[in-house]
């Protein structure tokens, strides 16, 4: 837990990427997210922590409108990406999701070859004009996801044949290939062993140079290791949001302190 002592962390930001104001989410009758205000910085890893059912994944799924695919979900409030309201009627959620990529809890490679998994996004968005350009994107994405050396000789094999950690890095490569501006990660390491987790965490740190990364995690150590900013959610409320070091060493709210010291969860 050495890293917890580093209170001051370098945050090289260029201002806010996403600003959320008064976000409310209802699943049918259930009020899942209550009046959340949150500013997410560019080129930063932001971690959402909190006990199960606290609304952290719900908030994450608001950021790329994945909640639209859940028929009973209702979202109110305002979320702006680079100053543009993403819940505006003129915004096509499909276009938005190309800009705000997502990596899921369980590795979910498509039942296609490794190459086609990564090329999927660029193909449907028409990002490339030629096969060689597509090859370039695939290679660059796999390299960014630190998977290239392991799979470069078997790009034609099914992505489902990889190990769990490799599959998750493949999913990251797949998300990176569409050149998103924000990358949302919903507990990306919860299905992985410690070695694969370490690889993915290292990767998240590298991705910070290009994207704004938002990660939901159950592991407080992981939040402390990879993030610069941390938000603590409890019972649908955003309780505290601040520098990671400050949240873990000097929380302002008693609920945050109880959670990180293991008294509520």
């Amino acid at each position: 837990m050495d890293d917890l002592r580093i209170v001051e962390r370098s945050v090289d930001t260029q201002g806010f990427k996403i600003t959320a104001r008064g976000v409310q989410v209802y699943y049918g009758e259930k009020h899942a997210l209550k009046d959340v205000d949150c500013d997410i910085l560019d080129k930063t890893v932001t971690a959402f922590i909190g006990p199960s059912g606290c609304g952290k994944s719900t908030f994450l799924r608001c950021l790329n409108r994945m909640n639209d695919t859940v028929s009973i979900a209702r979202v109110q409030g305002e979320i702006r990406l680079d100053g543009e309201d993403i819940y505006d009627k003129r915004v096509d959620p499909v276009q938005l999701r190309a800009k705000v990529g997502m990596v899921f809890q369980k590795p979910n490679p498509f039942p296609k070859s490794i190459y086609d998994n990564v090329a999927y996004g660029p193909k449907i968005h028409g990002l490339t004009r030629s096969k060689s350009e597509l090859d370039g994107i695939v290679e660059a994405s796999l390299k960014k996801a630190a998977l290239w050396n392991e799979v470069k000789d078997r790009l034609g094999e099914p992505g489902t044949g990889l190990s769990g950690g490799q599959q998750q890095r493949l999913c990251i490569a797949r998300a990176v290939a569409t050149h998103p501006e924000v990358l949302l990660m919903d507990e990306p390491c919860s299905a992985l062993d410690p070695i694969a987790t370490a690889q993915v965490e290292e990767l998240i740190d590298e991705l910070r140079s290009n994207f704004s990364v938002v990660i939901v995690t159950h592991s407080m150590q992981q939040a402390a290791r990879v993030s610069q900013k941390t938000a603590f959610f409890h019972l649908g409320n955003l309780v505290e949001y601040g520098e990671t070091g400050q949240i873990f060493t000097n929380p302002k709210d008693p609920r945050t302190e109880s959670y990180i010291s293991g008294r509520i969860g």
């Binding site: 790329n64 695919t69 999701r97 997502m102 498509f110 039942p111 449907i124 489902t160």
Partner: protein, 486 residues
């Protein structure tokens, strides 16, 4: 004692075994069920099974074996030349049984006493007339040998019945006694009962397999008989189907096979797209409310008897196609055609494909769809590029199963496709299929010794091989690609 009565007695003994086994187990531990190895009910079942099962097996074997043994003994009554050939022997034995039954009925009706029935002789008057008075009609006058054999048959059957009762009851009581004697708190009754259950499960699954093997063997033997009467290569590769009843038939398979495959092809062209699109709509787009109404409605089609579909083909689809398509374009003048039968079979198969494909599409994990949406794909792109490829092996399996149903369909083609065996490309021409010809070769007064009749078995065998091949191929496809997304 009749077999039915015996079984009732066995059941009573079984209940006794249950009560005794359970009671004895409990009393052996002083009424404290916690000291028993198994729950008290298992000791009861153990007793019941030991009382019933061995006796029931013995009874079954006895019932099968007794007639065989008696028939062998009866053979002594007849001169060797009368029972030389199989069919004669069977006829004589049928006569004997019939007379014996007649005597039984007569005794039961009081027309004869037991002694009279045993003593009655053809010399003292017509046995046929005596039996006719109690309502037993015999085809011809009873010969002395048959009458004697029948009387012997009755004696043997009576003795057999007596011993059958003694042996069965002895085994049942023995089993019961053994169960009671061995029952104590340490007996692993639960494990023993479960072995019996396992045996029951294996028996059930074996019956289905044995039936299939039996069907194949019976068809195979008739097919082999057919091949001794008609050159098999001519059957397989002959281009003409022209059975005549004076002999010199031409029994070529190819026209029938062509008709079968052509009609199946048309039906699949109808059923696959409609069924698949239905499944995609239901699985991906329909709201739960729409789905709960539409899905059962589509499945109603599957419940309609095929003969009703045949009527639909005969009176609606056939004339419609003839009057609006075939006649104006000059392609044909017949209401019965490949198109008629194919379209109606296709409609029949729509719910089959849509229902199976719907289940398969629903089985594709939601995480794959989320992954695709998360990359900014639309619903349609997700379905085309992620969901359908993931579901493809299952869908191919469903299509192949539907194809083998189309190939084996009989009623609709009988009523909608016509009866003319033809090799033609025109889909508005009447053609016929293997199934139709099997039916027509076997209906009416037929003897099972001419190639014209036996060809039905060879046709059946061909059909069996084709559908079996398709089913195996379907299973292979499903198995090879099944776990791709897991």
């Amino acid at each position: 004692m009749s077999v039915f009565l015996l079984i009732v007695v066995l059941l009573v003994l079984g209940i006794a075994g249950y009560v005794l086994g359970r009671g004895r187990a409990l009393s052996s531990v002083g009424g404290n069920p916690r000291k028993l190895h198994s729950l008290p009910g298992y000791y009861g079942w153990h007793g019941a099974i030991l009382a019933i099962l061995p006796a029931l097996v013995a009874l079954t074997m006895w019932v099968i074996a007794q007639p065989l043994i008696i028939e062998r003994q009866l053979a002594d009554f007849f001169p060797a030349e009368q029972i030389e050939n199989d069919s004669q022997r069977v006829l004589l034995l049928t006569d004997v049984r019939r007379v014996a039954q007649g005597l039984d009925t007569a005794v039961a009706a009081g027309a004869l006493t037991e002694e009279q029935a045993a003593m009655i002789r053809t010399e003292f008057g017509s046995v046929r007339d005596r039996l006719a008075t109690v309502g037993v009609a015999l085809g011809s006058e009873v010969t002395p040998q048959v009458l004697q054999a029948a009387q012997r048959y009755r004696e043997l059957a009576a003795t057999g019945g007596l011993w059958r009762m003694i042996v069965t009851l002895a085994i049942a009581l023995g089993g019961l006694a053994w169960a009671v004697r061995t029952t104590n708190g340490d007996l692993r009754a639960r494990n023993r009962v479960e072995v019996v259950i396992l045996g029951l499960l294996i028996l059930a699954s074996t019956i289905a397999i044995l039936t299939t093997i039996g069907i194949v063997l019976s068809m195979l033997s008739e097919t082999i008989r057919f091949s001794t009467m008609y050159p098999f290569a001519d059957f397989l590769f002959g281009l003409t189907w022209q059975p005549t009843f004076q002999g010199n038939s031409e029994l070529g398979l190819i026209p029938l096979l062509w008709g079968t495959l052509y009609i199946s092809l048309v039906s699949m062209i109808v059923a696959v797209p409609i069924g698949l699109f239905t499944a995609i709509y239901l699985a991906e787009y329909a709201t739960p409310r729409v789905r709960s109404i539409v899905k059962p409605l589509i499945e109603v089609i599957a419940g309609i008897p095929t003969v009703v579909f045949g009527l639909f083909a005969l009176v609606t689809v056939g004339p419609f196609l003839r009057d609006w398509f075939a006649a104006p374009t000059g392609l044909g003048t017949s209401g019965s055609s490949v198109m008629t039968a194919g379209i109606v079979i296709g409609i029949l198969n729509i719910p089959f494909i849509s229902s199976l494909a719907d289940d398969i599409i629903n089985a594709v994990p939601q995480s794959l769809r989320d992954g695709s949406y998360g990359l900014g794909a639309t619903k349609s792109e997700t379905i085309r590029q992620v969901v359908l490829p993931a579901a493809l092996p299952g869908i191919v399996g469903a299509i192949l199963l539907a194809a083998s149903r189309a190939i084996g369909e009989t009623m609709i083609v009988t009523m909608g496709a016509g009866a003319a065996a033809k090799l033609d490309l025109n889909p508005f021409e009447a053609m016929t299929t293997i199934t139709v010809k099997i039916v027509s070769q076997l209906t009416g007064d037929t003897e099972f010794n001419s190639p014209e009749t036996l060809v039905a078995f060879a046709l059946g065998m061909t059909l069996f091989v084709i559908t079996l091949g398709l089913n195996i191929f379907a299973l292979w496809v499903v198995r090879k690609y099944r776990e791709q997304y897991e």
